[in-house]
Subunit: 309 residues, 2 copies
């Protein structure tokens, strides 16, 4: 059952390479969040340790674990004790040689409501995720919980309007993005500002075009390059919650541990969608090109064949 | 041939109900723009007169005209004399009882390079466009000009990431949006601010997700409700040009006549797309739901049948 109000929150923090310390920190922050009244909490991506994808190293696969496994057990115990829906993250070992970057949803009773395997996988200097993670095969299906349908996506997904749209069309009540994104310390301040601004802007736009609230939980803090070749990554924090007009409801600074919380009113979502009825007017008869790589000649011919033109 | 640099601009102005006066004003502004060095200029939507869609009145169909017709002739003469690519707008009479809201592109030699029939048609109080305009059947195909491929879209299209994406995939060098959007004077200031902010944000996001520059040309000024039932519309100006990271290059105030201009560097577009390679990572194998109205059970069954699951 979807309720009309959800008290939703997120945690922004930094992580060390000591899983037990990270778990202790998350436990304390989740206790505070529950005390503050949240019913749903989003954690940053890959919260068990450092962002190991800064390099490609086979040893890092030792971090992988099955789902359910230690991380979901840890989160399930907290979810049940604190009566919280928790959206966490795990480096999933699905089979020998098959790994995913996976978000997990624990319901208030401690059950695993579902998981989402990151569909869009980045790969650029400092974010070598294509080495570790097979692109997800879960599709864009919201996860039903006791308090609503959660449109769970992960980090790089946040740059793709298609993902947010599909989650909305599948009935999500809100979008959540566990995230690990930061600055290259080599970039100058104006480039860093443009990147951060782009990241906030594109996610606010998903909220706007779909009339849906959105929570983005990022880590903060500097993490050194494990290979010592670069200046590492400065994770930029700035986690935020926005409403269905893309209006910022709460936003963290670049470098602070914090809890953000907001009231999500599903009745308000519907009223916003009535004011600006984008879902009414989509030209689904003319969107066939969207599942093509590029609309050059080869692709155009294929498209005409399929649509019978 | 697509060149590597384009000097692109737009005109923001207000309009009266006197077409000849509007054309005189546009002529002066286009002369100034050409003098300032622009090669491509975007005009606001339906620039021949007042925004007549504030009411539904059969008399208003008298404004409609064929394409080519008086408006394209007016613009063609200016395009040739001033050596400009002009993106204008017309209420197109295609046949008896068949009308479109159409953007037209005149090349530097005065030829009609192409036209685009607005694909997404709004309809809400003060914007009764579904009464006047049949949704376009041109699809999302950029228009080739002597200085590049222009991704021409119109107003309400700007709320749909699908439109911007399809234009990009079809090879557009930039996106342009002739626009007529404003505030309902009855809304309070905070709501007006959220609406304007949403409008800027979602378009900047199209630039970001596609790595493409964008020009949005709006009108400004108060226009009374022709039926005298409401407080009319306060067209909010704020026309802007942004680069491929969504960075604002130039923006107008809410209520001023002005010319904006920016240098569009297609080499820079490519470098931005290399830094953030979104086009590389789209999950075209998982986007089939995008041409469905909503992913409820009936739609899901259809989808599974089509994808052979």
């Amino acid at each position: 059952m979807t309720r009309s109000h959800i008290k939703a929150g997120l945690i922004q923090t930094s992580f060390s390479d000591d899983r037990d310390k990270n778990w202790k920190k998350l436990t304390q922050l989740l206790e505070q969040t529950a005390k503050a009244g949240a019913e749903l909490v989003v954690l940053p991506e890959l919260h068990n340790g450092l962002y190991f994808c800064q390099h490609e190293d086979r040893q890092e696969f030792e971090r992988a674990e099955p789902i359910p496994g230690p991380s979901t057990e840890f989160l399930a115990t907290l979810a049940k004790r604190l009566n919280l829906v928790i959206i966490g993250s795990a480096f999933e070992r699905r089979a020998a040689g098959l790994y995913h970057n996976t978000a997990v949803v624990l319901d208030k009773d401690g059950s695993l409501a579902g998981s989402y395997r990151k569909m869009h996988i980045p790969d650029d200097p400092g974010y070598y995720e294509k080495y570790y993670f097979t692109p997800g095969d879960t599709g864009f299906t919201p996860i039903q919980t006791s308090i609503g349908k959660i449109g769970v996506l992960v980090c790089w997904d946040q740059w793709f309007p298609e993902a947010a749209r599909l989650m909305t069309l599948a009935g999500a009540d809100c979008l959540v993005y566990p995230t690990a994104i930061g600055w290259d310390p080599v970039d100058d301040e104006s480039e860093q500002q443009r990147q951060l601004d782009s990241w906030v802007t594109i996610q606010r736009a998903h909220a706007i075009s779909n009339g849906i609230p959105l929570l983005a939980a990022n880590r903060h803090g500097h993490e050194a390059d494990p290979d010592g070749k670069t200046k590492g990554t400065e994770f930029w924090g700035n986690s935020f919650i926005c409403g269905p007009q893309g209006e910022i409801l709460s936003q963290a600074a670049a470098a602070e541990d914090c809890l953000l919380q907001a009231d999500i009113d599903l009745g308000h979502n519907e009223s916003i969608r009535q004011t600006w009825p984008f879902l009414r007017d989509r030209r689904i008869d003319a969107y066939a090109g969207l599942d093509h790589r590029f609309l050059d000649q080869a692709s155009e011919n294929e498209l005409k064949k399929n649509t019978g033109e």
